[in-house]
Every structure is written in C-alpha cells, then in structure tokens.
C-alpha cells in the first residue's frame, strides 16, 4: 500500500466526515440528539485515544469529561470569561485532572488500572458533591447563560438550535482533525508500539510509562473539551456528569463502534444515543434494550460496528 494512496484515502475520509456532520441534524428524528452525538462522539473518540490506541481501559473518564464541564461552566458563571476562554479552560481542566489521576494510576495495569481510575473519579464526584458553594452540589451547576457567540466580528445566535449545532460541529470537527493528525504523527506511531507490544517498545528505547501518561493527559484534554461543550449546550452541569455511569457509557460507545478505529467511537455514540432516544419514546426502561443490543454487538461484532465495516486491510 503506497503512502500516496493512504494520503488520498485520508483526504476523502476528512471530506466524508465533514459532509456527514453537515447532514446529521437532518437525518436524526430529534435535532437535540444531533448535538449530543457530537459531544458524546468527541468524548468517545478522546476516550479511545487511551483505550483503543494505548490499550488502557479507564473507568474514570467521567472525571475528565465532568471536570471539563464544571470548569467551562464556572469560567462563564463566576470568572466571566468569553465562551472560547471557558472552553479552553474546560480542555485544560480535563488534561489537568487526567494528569493527577494518571500519576496515581499509570503504574497499575489491566483491571487494576480500571479500578484505580474508577476510585479516583468517584473522589472527584464527591468533591463536587460536597463543595456545593462552588459547584451547586447535587443540584448541579445552574444558570450558565450563553445566548450569543462572537467570533471574528461575527455574532451568532447560540439559542437557535441549528446555529448551535453548527457552531459545536465546527469545534468538534476541528478537535477530530487535530486528533487524526496526532494519531498519524510520530507520537501516534509510538502509541501504536506501546499498544502492540510493550516489551518490544521498551527494548526499542520507548519510555512506556511516559507515553501512557502523555496519552492519558491528551485524552483528558479532548474529554474536557467535550465536557465544556456540553456545559455550553445544556446551560447546566448536572452532578450526574461526574457519575460513574458516564464512565461506563463512554466505554460502551467505544466498544459498540469499535475500539482502535478512528470513527468507531463516534459511530458508537450515534448508535447508542439513537437507540436510547427511540426506546425512551416507548418505555422509560431504555437500559434493557440498549444493553441487549450492546451484548449482541460484543458477541457478534467484537471489533465493533465500524470496526466490522473497515476490515479492508489487505493481507
């Protein structure tokens, strides 16, 4: 396979992805779902950076996503930062929390890594729960108001659902493009080495622990950005954002779509939210059918839905 062919395919991939984001709100039965697909999609793709590309199963990503959401919300509400400043703060908060959790968790492996990240994320949850003076405690962070978006002298109406969708879509598209470049970079190659064979990576001079740490922090940045976007979108940060079920959800989305594939987690988020919304129309017990579909996917498509589609690599 020539490099030129790969570049061309990658070019088309970006174009197709952009086109998909443009038509997405008109394809879905509910426009609100489209924005959630963007946000959770970005979250899942960011999560996949550690799970799919370095092989670390984190059960603590709620703390990174929720941390970003709270940071963005607080920046708007208390610090009076402009919306883009608030988003940057969300991104930085996600990375910083990932740094703290990472330092403590990265030395453990496998299921232990999952347990330590889960425990530390629960600590973040209780911190937010207790510090109700700052975070609003169990009521969540309320009163985030963002009606207008100013950019390059342009003022956009953030209340209009479609405008809001396209603003968020543009930011998500930029983040995905950055992530795609990251994965194609020399550092992306080093992450692949760690995922494929830690012992060989180490014997090749790669500081495996540092690579995992860096990947975790980068994943935290993307998760924090996704959380920040959710704060802007919902105008509230519910305490449930930090709940362990958020960590579980992103694992499910990632597995559903296909870990280790670029768009898989995004497709996983789309399928998950679509199922959730459709089933919720009929019954409030949406978890049962969604869980059954998830189990069926894991059993019959172990590479995930998107992973199954993209098994095209020639021998």
């Amino acid at each position: 396979m020539s490099a030129a062919f790969l570049t061309r395919a990658a070019g088309h991939r970006a174009l197709l992805a952009a086109l998909f984001l443009l038509v997405l709100p008109f394809l879905l039965p509910f426009r609100a779902t489209a924005v959630n697909v963007l946000i959770d999609g970005l979250f899942a793709v960011g999560f996949n950076l550690v799970y799919g590309y370095v092989g670390l199963l984190s059960f603590g990503h709620a703390a990174l996503f929720g941390g970003g959401a709270y940071a963005t919300g607080l920046a708007l509400l208390r610090l009076g930062l402009p919306w883009y400043g608030a988003l940057v703060l969300g991104l930085v908060a996600g990375a910083a929390i990932a740094g703290i959790i990472g330092v403590l968790a990265i030395r453990t492996r496998g299921i232990y890594f999952a347990m330590v990240t889960l425990a530390l994320a629960e600590c973040v949850y209780y911190l937010a729960y207790q510090a109700s003076g700052v975070t609003g405690g169990e009521n969540g962070l309320r009163g985030i108001v963002l009606t207008k978006i100013d950019l390059f002298g342009l003022t956009l109406d953030f209340v209009d659902p479609l405008t809001r969708y396209f603003v968020i879509a543009a930011i998500v598209a930029l983040a995905l493009a950055a992530l795609s470049r990251l994965l194609a970079s020399p550092f992306g190659a080093v992450m692949e080495m760690v995922r494929e064979n830690e012992a060989r990576a180490r014997a090749s001079g790669v500081d495996v622990r540092a690579v995992k740490m860096l990947a975790f922090v980068l994943s935290g940045a993307f998760s924090g950005l996704a959380g920040g976007l959710q704060a802007l979108h919902l105008a509230i940060v519910p305490i449930e954002t930090l709940d362990y079920s958020t960590s579980g959800m992103v694992v499910m989305m990632c597995l559903l779509g296909g870990r280790g594939t670029f768009f898989g987690p995004f497709i996983g988020a789309l399928v998950f939210l679509l199922l959730q919304n459709l089933v919720a129309l009929i019954s409030s017990h949406w978890q049962l059918p969604v869980g059954l579909v998830f189990m069926a996917c894991v059993l019959f498509f172990p590479r995930g839905l998107w992973g199954q589609v993209t098994r095209w690599r020639p021998a």
């Binding site: 020399p186 992306g188 064979n197 060989r200 014997a203 001079g205 690599r313």
Partner: protein
C-alpha cells in the same frame, strides 16, 4: 573511552529471586566488535544474565558498565537509547503492523518520538533505513505483510531486524534460532556472523555446537557461576566443561 577494548563490563553482578540465587557474582568483559557466546545447560543462569545485560532485570548485587558508564539499575528503555538492543527468545514483534511498519516504527522512535503534528510518513529517511534493514535480514519481499502472519523463521528474522533498527552498538541475542528448521538455523547463523565487527554481539545459546563456529569467545555458565571463558578451542579442551555440559549430552 574508545581506547577501552571492553564495550561492556560486569563486576560481580548477581541476581536473587527471594532466597533463590540465580546468579552468583559474575565478572566479565565483552570486547568491542567481537561475537561472544554465552552457553550453559538449562538453569545455568544464562537467561538471568542476559536479562541483567539488557536491563530487563536489575541486579541484586554488583555493577554493569557500558562504554565506561555505570548503567546499573537504569530503566530498560534507557539501555536501548544508550545503544544496547536485544532480541527476545520468544518472538516479540508488533503483530498487527506490516513488516515494514514494524521496522520503521523502531527506526523512527529512536530519532523522533514527541512530534504530535507532522505526518509519520513525512520522513523518507526512516522508510529507507527500514528497507535497508529488511534487505539485510532477507525480508524485503515481505515488507507489506502483516507481521503476525509471517512464518516462524521469518518472524525470527524480523526480530533481528527490530533489534538492529535502534542502531545499537551492542546487540544481545537470546537463542535467536529457537524453534527454527536446520536450514533456517544455518541462514540465521550466517546472518549473525555477518553482524560483527560493525556491532558487538553477545549471543545466548543453549545448543553449544551452533556457536562454536562463529563465536570468538565463549562464556560457559553453570549453576549461576562462570565455569570457563575462552576461545571455542579452549572451551572444547576444557575438562570441566566436558564433564558438566558435554558429558550430560553424551557428545
């Protein structure tokens, strides 16, 4: 430092696992540009010594010097960046990447790791080095194959290419012919013999006969201690070696 004929020197290095002493203090010098073989019966401590030399294990006692520098207790990836590479006894490659990607990843990781923005394909020099290495180990025709699908002998050759890819001055090979057919073994031994004197090679081998033809020096371990050291002829003539090693295999 380049005046020093020894590239690697161990000073009374020992390793214990709990109460079990796998390796008593071993002092040895390995000369630059030579091929030294470490042999010994099962349980002699070969693998333990190899793991100490490659940094996979830290010694419980003693010191290790590489090019005049004390490297005792450094992390394993530091051994690699200093110029010590190893091949694994059990094939250790990147199974889902192509053969070419395997080698290129290691070549590239030596030079550049923390670039997050450029394309990894933007460095033709690394692809070229990878191709040259594949040529050398006889895998150029298989460059596009997913490494996990190679035949066993080919994977062993890739293993050598990966060890060479980090451009080591000292190459440690752990039973490189394990599980190979006689023809593959012969090809591998020719390949290894051709690595000196450009590289210093230390070869751990269970089968004594294999190394006698290509090694310049042979270190015989027995029960975690040095039994003998010398040229292959010295070793063949050594009565004690005959007794503990050759004798038991009825040669």
């Amino acid at each position: 430092m380049n005046e020093d004929p020894a590239i690697l020197r161990t000073e009374k290095v020992g390793k214990s696992f709990g109460r079990f002493q796998a390796l008593a203090g071993i002092s040895c010098e390995f000369h630059r540009g030579r091929l030294t073989a470490i042999i010994g019966p099962n349980g002699a401590g070969k693998s333990t010594y190899f793991n100490l030399l490659s940094g996979a294990l830290a010694p419980s006692a003693g010191r290790i010097w590489f090019e005049g520098r004390d490297i005792t207790g450094l992390a394993q990836h530091r051994f690699a960046t200093l110029g010590i590479a190893k091949s694994f006894q059990i094939t250790s490659i990147f199974p889902e990447l192509t053969v070419h990607e395997n080698v290129r990843a290691v070549v590239q990781a030596r030079e550049i790791r923390l670039n997050f923005w450029r394309s990894r394909n933007a460095y033709p020099q690394f692809a070229a080095s990878a191709e040259a290495l594949l040529e050398r180990v006889g895998l150029s025709g298989r460059a596009g194959v997913i490494a996990g699908r190679l035949a066993h002998g080919e994977q062993r050759a890739l293993e050598i290419a990966l060890a060479l890819a980090s451009r080591p001055r000292l190459l440690l090979l752990d039973e490189p012919t394990a599980g190979m057919s006689p023809e593959e073994t012969q090809a591998m031994m020719t390949l290894i013999a051709g690595l000196v004197p450009a590289h210093t090679v230390i070869l751990v081998e269970h089968k004594m006969k294999l190394v006698m033809g290509i090694a310049e020096r042979v270190l015989v371990l027995h029960n975690g201690e040095v039994l003998a050291i010398g040229t292959p002829d010295d070793i063949r003539a050594n009565d004690e070696v005959r007794r503990v090693y050759l004798g038991q295999r009825a040669h």
